[in-house]
């Protein structure tokens, strides 16, 4: 039997996807199904004074739901439970849901939605992180702060006096739309006898389950959540599906009919979550030989109008803020603040791309001031095995950032290009010339939930044999394009010595599968994959232990053993529950300890051109080198990196959310621009393999990593090309032209 781990096994559900047979939520329909729509707040903040149903609309044919129709608790159960399903008397952001409508005719439904008139007595609102921090208006709690953290290692205050140099900088990142090509959608059937069933596009079926248990005040077994094929998530379908699923279910509950609710692109962009905008301030003490002496980092993210996941986004951003460097004194003060914009939420990288952008721009600034090249300055500060991170986590694995840097600079021909571009850029070709530059960023990304998160989750995976000798994997981890089905099948077939097609992945359905935790945080391969490994190992041991299967066996022998076992005992199913790796300790109070079980390490190099006529910056070549433990499937792994880098190029140079009074003004694909096939440079992906002892087959997490490094690498390259320092993304031509005109 060939090894499955490390092979470019084709995607498990590939055939369904290339033939159009894969069924996404909008492809499903039910008898007598109604369509649902959401009527949203026209104002950013204020008291709802009236709701009227106007126009020439047969309102008696419509199902109408408002806050008073909520059978259970009117909040989306998540962290602080402060976000209502339907605004009840008061709104806190534009587009906040107020009324739900359903009708069998979706064209009439849209007409009706436009004829619901909502009057708001407006109150002052705030739309920026700066206004929130300045308490221009208190809109949430006592001080607009959802959450704050303090990481305090060593003694930062005592270090300033000994510094040869103190370097300060301020860095900003904007909102970014996930822009999965399949919009959010859900279908619900709900009644008192059977409870609530929802089919939907989602990353985390058990998040939706938890929220709907509260919304309907029903016992857990009365709520059933089924994930349909999901057309991309990137975090945008982590927490938001709890809302749309709840809305569809409320309409279904009141009407007694199936209700389908599918957002169109404009609604999805204007009303759902985006990446948190951020502002980071650095103050760094350095010795004249380029050693980091102290880092003080102030990291702030804009959470929008409700808390949602902001505390955990802030946590990841905070922990990654000091990067893959060793520094004896580090203080990171971070805050997530409220504004009157739709809540910002999960998006690939989850706070880390924001704080890493700041750090990797700042590292170049320090290098310049201390008189070292960007690579030499980093080499003098890289973390190694046996040293500790900002949270005092002792690095117990081999980490060789020096080697990664050497390799990445070699693959990108960095030094030769640096020299050549300097010579070419100094020759003026008049106003039509293009300047070129090359830059890089070094970074790490922790996989799995932060700190004690995985222990609290207590994830479970089951494996079940059929009497045909097939093995079914039961997990709530979703396939959203990243390759869950394929990776789980590879892991199981490797352990069992069965062919790939003998493994079946059960569709995530809370009535069928155990809670293996959310599909987030680069945890599916590393954490849940390990549980798949343990569960199928248990299956194999059960069979060998029963004497029905020899230690060495063929596929027909396995099949016979399964059939015999099931004949004798009725069924064969084993489960595995998460066990933390040894020596993992985390202090939630002091924010010190082992923040993540494992980190992926990377160097990304960007080459750019800058057009002096149009002020456009373009990425011309991209090298992404990373150490992610063992690569389970080289095609899927490279696909994750390439897709993440493309999304990060968008974050850096293309994707500009234009805000008007707290509302996204360019909520269309016509004017919110994501990279097209014509815009993306060759993305050259390289892996260094260093198997991780506690990951399945030696794998670490990979999904979020590629979002982290591209933005600072590109801005470092633009600085190399233009001699100008830009510290804010998205970096649009309008900003790029400012120093030149």
């Amino acid at each position: 039997m060939d090894h499955q781990i490390g092979k470019p096994v084709p995607r498990k559900e590939g055939r369904k996807k290339v033939t159009g047979q894969a069924l996404y939520v909008d492809d499903l329909s039910f008898p007598d199904m109604l369509h649902g729509a959401t009527v949203r707040s026209p104002a950013a903040r204020g008291k709802i004074t009236s709701i009227s149903f106007d126009g020439d609309i047969p309102w008696d044919q419509f199902v109408i739901v408002t806050a008073k129709d909520v059978p259970g608790a009117n909040y989306v159960a998540l962290i602080l439970n402060d976000q209502p399903y339907l605004a009840d008397g008061f709104v806190n952001h534009p587009e906040e849901p107020i009324v739900l409508l359903a009708h069998e005719d979706k064209y009439l439904l849209e007409e009706a939605r436009r004829n619901v008139r909502i009057e708001i007595e407006e109150q002052p609102a705030i739309f920026s992180l700066a206004d929130s921090l300045a308490k221009k208006e208190i809109i949430w709690g006592e001080d607009n702060v959802f959450k704050k953290f303090l990481v305090d290692k060593g003694n930062v205050d005592a270090a300033w006096a000994n510094a040869d140099l103190i370097v300060e900088g301020e860095y900003e990142t904007g909102a970014q739309e996930q822009l999965y090509i399949e919009n959010n959608g859900a279908i619900a059937i709900a009644n008192a006898a059977d409870g609530v069933t929802v089919w939907g596009s989602m990353q985390c079926p058990y998040y939706v389950h938890k929220a709907l248990v509260k919304l309907f005040d029903l016992p857990e077994e009365k709520i059933r959540i089924i994930q349909t094929e999901t057309g991309g998530g990137f975090g945008g379908k982590e927490e938001y599906p709890s809302l749309i699923a709840g809305h569809a279910a409320l309409l279904a509950w009141k009407s007694g009919k199936a209700v389908k609710m599918i957002y169109d692109r404009a609604e999805d962009m204007v009303a759902t979550t985006k990446r948190h905008p951020s502002r980071t301030r650095h103050k760094t003490a350095v010795s004249k030989d380029g050693k980091l002496l102290a880092m003080e980092i102030d990291f702030v993210i804009d959470g929008g109008a409700y808390c949602t996941l902001s505390p955990v986004v802030l946590s990841r951003g905070t922990i990654h803020a000091a990067g893959p460097y060793v520094c004896p004194n580090v203080r990171i003060h971070s805050r997530a603040v409220a504004t009157n914009v739709p809540p910002h939420g999960a998006f690939r990288g989850f706070g880390a791309p924001q704080s890493i952008f700041a750090l990797e721009r700042h590292m170049n600034k320090i290098a310049h001031e201390v008189g070292l090249t960007p690579e030499e300055f980093r080499r003098r500060n890289f973390i190694h095995e046996g040293e500790t991170t900002a949270t005092s986590q002792l690095i117990r694995e081999r980490v060789d950032m020096d080697h990664l840097l050497t390799q990445a600079l070699k693959f990108s021909d960095y030094h030769a290009k640096r020299e050549r571009f300097a010579a070419e850029n100094s020759v003026s070709n008049g106003r039509f010339s293009k300047k070129r530059g090359i830059g890089f960023a070094s970074f790490m990304h922790g996989a799995g939930f932060t700190g004690s998160g995985e222990v609290y989750l207590q994830s479970v995976v089951s494996a079940e044999a059929t009497d045909e000798g097939k093995v079914r994997i039961l997990a709530a981890s979703t396939e959203i394009g990243q390759g869950t089905n394929t990776i789980f099948s590879q892991i199981a077939s490797e352990i069992l010595g069965l062919d790939f097609d003998s493994i079946e992945i059960v569709q995530p359905d809370t009535r069928q599968v155990p809670n293996s935790g959310p599909t987030v945080a680069s945890r599916t391969s590393m954490v849940v994959g390990k549980l798949v490994e343990s569960a199928v190992m248990g299956l194999k041991q059960t069979l060998t232990g029963s004497g029905l299967l020899p230690q060495e066996y063929s596929q027909p022998e396995f099949k016979k053993a399964c059939s015999d076992y099931i004949g004798k005992f009725g069924s064969l199913k084993t489960s595995a529950t998460y066990q933390p790796p040894p020596n993992v300790h985390w202090d939630d109070e002091k924010y010190q300890g082992d923040a993540y079980g494992a980190y992926a390490w990377a160097i990304y190099v960007a080459e750019v051109s800058f057009d002096e006529l149009t002020y456009e910056a373009r990425v011309e070549d991209f090298v992404a080198l990373q150490e992610v433990g063992r690569v389970l499937n080289p095609v899927l792994a490279a696909g994750q990196i390439e897709g993440g880098v493309a999304q990060a190029i968008g974050f850096t140079l293309f994707e500009n959310v234009v805000w008007k009074d707290g509302r996204m003004a360019n909520n269309q694909m016509t004017n919110y621009i994501i990279p097209t096939p014509a815009d993306i440079p060759p993305i050259r992906v390289f892996f260094e393999e260093n198997p991780y002892a506690y990951g399945p087959g030696g794998a670490k997490g990979i999904g979020e990593l590629p979002m982290d490094g591209a933005a600072p690498a590109i801005l470092n390259a633009i600085e190399n090309a233009t001699g100008m320092s830009f510290n804010q993304i998205p970096l649009m031509p309008e900003t790029l032209m400012k120093p030149f005109v």
Binding site: I181, G232, G639, G643
Partner: protein, 133 residues
Amino acid sequence: MARLLDVLREQLHLTGTKEGCGEGECGACTVIIDGQIVNSCLVPVAQVNGAEITTIEGVAHNGELDAVQQAFIDHGGAQCGICTPGMVIAALDLLKRNPKPNENDIRNGLAGNLCRCTGYMKIFESVVRAYQK
């Protein structure tokens, strides 16, 4: 009037053609009408009276995949799959017009189809592998 996309999906139950944006930007609803690729979200159904339309459901023959479909499976051209039907149709159209496209031809040929998962590299590779077969 109904859009061609709605008639395909709702009346003919050919749900392989997807809606991504409804304004002709993303290409998820790409179909071939009388040999031309178009975004079916922009076509009023009356305009296709008597026309021959190929959707993703018509690409494989008797269960046998087209080389483009097979290449998308083998070389990572599909991830979440929502852009894939439109992307496959656009790739077929490109290869029909230009059987051996270079990288630039592929980029331009697929420029009307957006993908948020792959970063396009594996889609380009899939197209190359398909015509090399």
